[in-house]
Symmetry: C3
Subunit: 201 residues, 3 copies
């Protein structure tokens, strides 16, 4: 079940990467690399920082195959991807929910402080997109004020530790904090919720 | 004492990062991340290259707290930060002096060649700013010809090994080479000293 | 012999990096850093991902000296480098051939799947240029549709495993797949061979 969600998230991230690469008019190789780093870049950075090498995607080729298939799919049907926009948004929200918790639990395994665990989770969910934007020569979208993204991951991570301190089954903690990330993200997109504007104009 | 200097350097780097992020009109999350990578990015890259994981800032949360506080401070008082420009420049110079020596001594511990030790020191001091500029979609300022920055670190590193070969107490070697970095940096800013211009126009 | 080829590749990559840095009007320090990452960036990323630390260039200072010498050479004779363009292209083709196979064989040593080995080889050959372009604030040229570059590495890598499955001496496999990379790259430049255009206009 978790594995299926993970694959859905990988597909959503890969397609989002491919779409950005299209806009930059990259060639097929470039599109694949951008799809790849968008999907696995956050987890790779996390693994590097905590010293888990060879990094994650080298231990299970399924991700590589899924990303190759997603890239081919995106290239073939790119003119029709607009119809899928809502599905993709949903997959993406599910993806960041799961990626955050996967990253966070890696930190828990290493007995790191909750703040660092939440940082690792947020990094896993958000830094694939950051690397994608750097390679595409853009200021990372997650740093700009449009709708909250990283904030959802951070809130979900805090919920994970808050709920974990209560006498609740660990699986329920996992599901509930994942649901918080997904729900806040979808609500943020629906109602255009952003961080407070600190600029005057 | 060293620890206090280290914290002052962290504050100066965090505020310099936050200021660049302001100019790019990032949101609060983006400003914090830029402040964070400016402060700890150089040391993180160094730790990755030599295989010291989990990387530095994961072993002492003080840096994270200081950077959060510096970011909040910078956001709150950004219109008044101009008055602090001289203090910030001083902290920054002290920061690169100390960061260079910390990075250099990590190399010495690993019995690396002096050239590599100096490279690690310079990386520790300068690459936080490089990563900041990449994330902000700018050519890194340290590679451009305005005033010398990395050169001060390299000179201080060379002084460290030159003085270390003399029969001088190691603490004095440390202080003297740190002072060289700070002094050359401040003089370079004051007198606009740059590397020789290799371009004709 | 291999070592000499490796050094020739390092020189070609360093000079190509220095030339890009010139165009961005960087100072001497910036030019050296760009030359350095162009040469060793791909191998460094590979070593980080598989956990080989300290990374490659820290174990043999020859590369650093060669890159320093190449940078000085490029700065001194930059107005005459046009005459060398053909030699540089040849060195570069030889370089990516060898770098691909070096990276690929690192994967084989770790008993990684051939797909991952080819990925490591391609990364070794191509990602120095990617990091160079990121630092110079450009979309990486290897992702854009002009002539094939990474594709040559991937084809050579596939040839390595295809030939390796036949009863052929391993040295011949190495030479033949290296020759395929070099030949396809030179032919691609000569005849402007690119990946199929997926854009309509």
């Amino acid at each position: 079940m978790l594995y299926i969600i993970d694959i859905l998230g990988t597909i959503a991230f890969a397609i989002s990467g491919a779409l950005v690469a299209f806009d930059k008019r990259m060639d097929v190789f470039g599109i694949f690399i951008i799809a790849f780093v968008t999907s696995v870049g956050g987890g790779t950075l996390r693994d590097l920082l905590i010293g888990h090498t060879p990094v994650g995607w080298m231990n299970d080729l399924t991700y590589t195959y899924v990303i190759i298939a997603s890239t081919i799919f995106a290239i073939s049907f790119r003119s029709k991807l607009n119809y899928l926009r809502t599905s993709l948004l949903l997959f993406d929200a599910i993806g960041i929910g799961l990626y955050t918790l996967i990253g966070l639990e890696k930190g828990v395994e290493l007995h790191l402080h909750p703040i660092l665990c939440i940082a690792l989770g947020t990094m896993t969910a958000c830094f694939g997109g950051v690397i994608r934007d750097i390679l595409c020569n853009e200021i990372p979208v997650v740093f700009r004020r449009e709708t909250i993204y990283a904030t959802c991951c951070i809130m979900g991570g805090m919920a994970y530790f808050a709920l974990g301190a209560l006498p609740i089954d660990q699986n329920i903690v996992f599901l509930a904090s994942g649901a918080i990330i997904i729900a806040t993200r979808l609500l943020a997109v629906r109602f255009k919720i952003a961080l407070p504007n600190i600029y005057r104009d």
